[in-house]
Symmetry: C2
Subunit: 160 residues, 2 copies
DNA sequence: CCTGAAAGCCCCATGTT
DNA sequence: AACATGGGGCTTTCAGG
């Protein structure tokens, strides 16, 4: 052990912060006054809390959830990728490549059977094929890919 | 062919709608007046468009993006699930079970080697084990699960 | 469908406890 | 750290093009 745990965690969240985050996760456009009312605190207090959480990076941003099928991307898939080498430089250069994959909803570097899982949304199956061939398989460190079509997304209970 | 395509798609989006959606996907808390200014239309027009898109379900909601590690869920994983039977009733009952998995960020029903991919966030590896054993493997239709730890999420370019 | 104006409400800086 | 206040800005409705 070369470092001891912090005596007071600067990232500690109290109950008010947690309730606030839960509300904003459900409705990111709730007004500050409505949020303050719901939490039972003054508007100014509420505003200060939200700002602090933003500045600390606990709130990363607020984003609209768009129906991708309605905007021309009716097809989703998960592309599982396995590399032939896990050399640090190869992995780094691969990161730069997959970060540019058009239509990527989420890119995860994982441990286990696969190395990367890429969740994508595309306009057509042709586009999906082109995406895999031209943006993933092109990289020489890629040994294997497998594409799984998304039939359905099942709404879960979430984490908050 | 038992039905012909609609002569005018009620879900058609024009260029204004698309620009508006892109802005809201980036910053879901942008004010209506700022959005109107950016798009070069009257505030009332902008408000009406956003409302219509919400009512049509194109905008599903607006949610805060929270740093899960900061709120006590530092570990993420993807659980790949394979079923022993693809009978419709079995699948339906399995849906109800996995929809209740605590900490599920995303649940995808996919085609191919696996049947389901569950992206979860948990407080500890112990909790991860318990989650898989008690909420996924318990179901008799589950033949196989494999859990892959998420090392890193790589920011992509997105779809909009 | 889009606009402009007007009433009302919200945001948030400031001062106080 | 939390609260009360007030000016300026934002939201939202509605009549009109």
């Amino acid at each position: 052990m070369t470092k001891s745990p912090p005596t007071s965690d600067p990232a500690a969240l109290d109950a008010l912060d947690r309730r606030l985050l839960t509300e904003l996760a459900v409705d990111g456009r709730i007004t500050n006054s409505a949020l303050a009312r719901r939490l039972g605190v003054a508007e100014s207090t509420c505003l200060q809390r939200v700002r602090a959480l933003r500045e600390r990076g606990v709130i990363r941003g607020v984003h609209a959830d768009i129906d991708l099928a309605a905007v021309g991307y009716p097809i989703q898939a998960v592309v599982k990728v396995r590399l032939g080498s896990h050399n640090r430089d190869h992995v780094a250069s691969f990161h730069e490549v997959i970060a540019q994959v058009p239509g990527a909803l989420r890119i995860l570097h994982v441990g286990g059977e696969d190395d990367y899982l890429i969740h994508v949304a595309v306009a057509s199956t042709q586009e999906l094929r082109d995406l895999v061939l031209e943006h993933v398989n092109v990289h020489p460190v890629v040994r294997h890919t497998e594409t799984q079509i998304v039939f359905e997304e099942i709404p879960g209970v979430g984490v908050l």
